[in-house]
């Protein structure tokens, strides 16, 4: 058991399991920075997991499939923004609606394309490649952990840097933060809060789409019903625990990835697997409690109580 956990394969699996959660967490972060809770991540990921299979199969290329899937994700983000910002729908209810439509729509679409309700195995789809970074694989242990991952795993890590830069170093990022902190103050200095939130939700949709594509076109080449299994919700928790910052989100995502990898490794042990499966969610709840408690105390201190 301990041997299995200390092996490079185990650490490598952490990175693999972190990838979809990290993408979704970043998606939650950018939306939260603009002041919107994007609970539709679950639905966007689910839709895009299926779209990945369909698009890569139709175009015959993993890359084109990925591109189209990212566009589709951005489009769903746009639709969510349209309902929330233009039609003034409650953001949670709009998200629940998108998640419901995704749960039903993916089954219908898959049935139409593959004739199967359970998974899309009959559709021939393509995977984005695994890559070996020159020289990295030669480092003992660490090399085995870090190299030979799907290219999307590296993309997810790069996205953390890009998003951090976007939020903290660009004029758009400043606007997003301003709108998220105080919409009225931002409006008063001439920022169109609606435009900024639209952009944030579209970026959020694209990031969630990358996470969804990774599920069905990253380490496997098929879509299965409800394959997101709550990762979109975990991402909301991860983003909130990470203080809604990309770097914080990365750290918390790795914790979840580790919890999931542990759960997978422990399924081979004598412990009941159902209890082990609770681990990632338990970690989330306890972590969220601690984080929120600390934040609450800090606020109380600052407000001089």
């Amino acid at each position: 058991m301990l041997d299995a956990i200390l092996s490079p394969e185990f650490f490598s699996s952490i990175l693999r399991l972190t990838t979809p959660i990290l993408f979704a967490t970043l998606a939650a972060t950018i939306a939260a920075k603009s002041g919107i809770i994007n609970m539709a991540l679950e639905g966007i990921m689910l839709f895009c997991a299926l779209f990945g299979v369909i698009f890569s199969s139709l175009t015959g290329s993993a890359w084109l499939g990925l591109l189209l899937t990212l566009i589709a994700g951005g489009l769903i983000g746009y639709i969510l923004a349209f309902f929330v910002l233009k039609l003034k729908t409650d953001e949670i209810i709009a998200a629940i609606a998108i998640n419901l439509i995704a749960a039903g729509g993916t089954v219908l679409l898959m049935l139409a394309f593959s004739g199967d309700r359970g998974n899309s195995a009959s559709i021939i789809s393509f995977q984005t490649p695994r890559i070996n970074i020159v020289g990295l694989g030669k480092i003992p242990f660490l090399g085995e952990v870090l190299s030979n991952h799907n290219i999307l795993t590296y993309f997810s890590l790069i996205s953390v840097v890009i998003l951090h830069f976007l939020i903290y170093k660009t004029p758009l990022g400043l606007k997003i933060r301003a709108v998220g902190e105080n919409k009225d103050a931002a409006e008063s200095v001439g920022i169109s809060s609606q435009k900024v939130q639209f952009i944030a939700l579209i970026i959020s949709g694209v990031l969630a789409a990358a996470g969804g594509f990774f599920l069905s076109g990253g380490y496997m080449t098929k879509f299965t019903t409800n394959m997101t299994a709550g990762r979109g919700y975990i991402a909301l928790a991860a983003s909130s625990m990470g203080g809604n910052t990309p770097i914080g989100g990365l750290l918390v995502s790795i914790i979840f990835g580790t919890a999931q990898a542990l759960a997978n490794a422990m399924q081979l042990s004598t412990l009941p697997s159902e209890l082990v499966q609770m681990l990632p969610y338990l970690v989330t709840i306890v972590g969220l409690g601690f984080y929120s408690y600390r934040l609450k105390k800090k606020h109380e201190r600052l407000s001089g109580k």
């Binding site: 039609l87 709009a94 039903g104 408690y293």
Partner: protein, 355 residues
């Protein structure tokens, strides 16, 4: 009927019509026999009394979670653990039914009450976390649902599984199950309980002091606090009561005479269904049975359609999604609403001038 109510009814109707129209469009695209499919979806439940009985039967769990979640949401707590409450309610009722022997009339009552208590515990966790640590109840309740699911799977597979059947629990004794009211259908005594819960839920929210405090807290927490309401208490009680009702719902559902074993291996989604029900019913428990009927009718129609044609029943989820998003969209048909207000104002003005 005031103009606002009239407008709300009108808007709900338009939302439903648009959602149905879109789903007909989808059926036309995916089906080889679209006309039969649409007919089955719309008129299927009316074709046989047994089918209509299925509609009424399907209403029962929807009423419970609809009322429970309405009460939780009225306090402005987006607590989504009603799903978990329902699931654990089903498990607890099964465990009590299997291991405790009680006289005929008492057995289901004890099972259902304990199911309710278990349901309360589940919704209370996010509420306590909110009150004590300020943790967002939306996020924590979503995680709780998965915890509950895996915990129930553990009990199902490692404790109450009947080795003879494979995936199901030991037989639920007949002494614990509810009885059928109308023979020839599957409508059981749970229906009476569900209607009762809807009535009591209405009285609780609209005719008691604590109900008033819950509504006030939900509308404006700061104002409620300044008017001397103990907001913490109000939040906890509302979540406790809501979870209790969802838990009862799970208990009643598993004691439905058609089930003879506990077999739920995944979340059933009644907690999410509650969201569409409460948007249709405007969070008023009194209207919950009506919206539950609508949803149950649609579901039953869809499953009849799925059996008879090549369209799968999941299309209902799409209809549901479109309906709730349109009903909650404040700006949807708002131009029409403004016109209606304008017209009424003009009319009033004319009356005044005439005087």
């Amino acid at each position: 009927m005031s103009n606002t109510t009239k407008f709300n009814v009108f808007r709900t109707a338009v939302a439903i019509i648009i959602a149905l129209a879109i789903s007909f469009g989808i059926i036309l695209l995916v089906s080889e026999e679209p006309v039969t499919a649409i007919l089955k979806l719309i008129t299927g439940p009316l074709q046989k009394s047994r089918y209509f009985g299925n509609v009424i039967e399907a209403m029962i769990p929807l009423i419970f979670t609809g009322v429970g979640v309405s009460i939780m949401f009225t306090a402005n707590q987006i607590n989504l653990a009603g799903e978990g409450s329902f699931h654990i309610g089903g498990l607890v009722a099964s465990v009590i039914a299997i291991y405790v022997t009680l006289p005929l009339g008492l057995h289901p009552i004890v099972c259902i009450l304990l199911a309710g208590l278990a349901g309360s515990v589940v919704t209370l966790i996010p509420a306590l976390m909110k009150v004590k640590t300020n943790a967002d109840e939306l996020v924590s309740s979503l995680m709780i649902n998965y915890l509950v699911l895996f915990f129930c799977n553990f009990i199902l597979l490692k404790v109450i599984r009947d080795p003879v059947t494979g995936a199901g629990s030991y037989l639920l004794p007949k002494s614990a199950s509810l009885s059928v009211i109308f023979s020839g259908t599957r409508i059981h005594t749970g229906l009476i309980l569900a209607i009762l819960v809807a009535l009591l839920g209405y009285l609780f929210l609209y005719k008691t002091k604590i109900g008033y405090e819950i509504r006030l807290t939900g509308e404006n927490e700061k104002f409620a606090k300044y008017s001397g309401i103990n907001v913490v208490k109000v939040v906890l009680i509302s979540q406790l009561v809501g979870g209790f009702i969802c838990g009862i719902g799970g208990g009643v559902e598993i004691l439905n005479p058609i089930y003879d074993r506990f077999t739920w291996a995944g979340l059933l989604g009644y907690g999410w269904d509650a969201i569409i029900i409460l948007t249709l019913a405007k969070k008023n428990p009194l209207y919950v049975p009506v919206s539950a009927f609508f949803l149950a009718y649609l579901r039953t129609g869809a499953s009849i359609m799925a059996r008879a044609t090549d369209v799968s029943a999941e299309i209902v989820l799409i209809i549901q999604g479109i309906i709730i998003v349109l009903i909650v969209a404040n700006q949807f048909l708002s131009k029409y609403k403004n016109k209606m207000i304008e017209k009424e104002a003009k009319k009033n003005l004319n009356i005044k001038e005439a005087e």
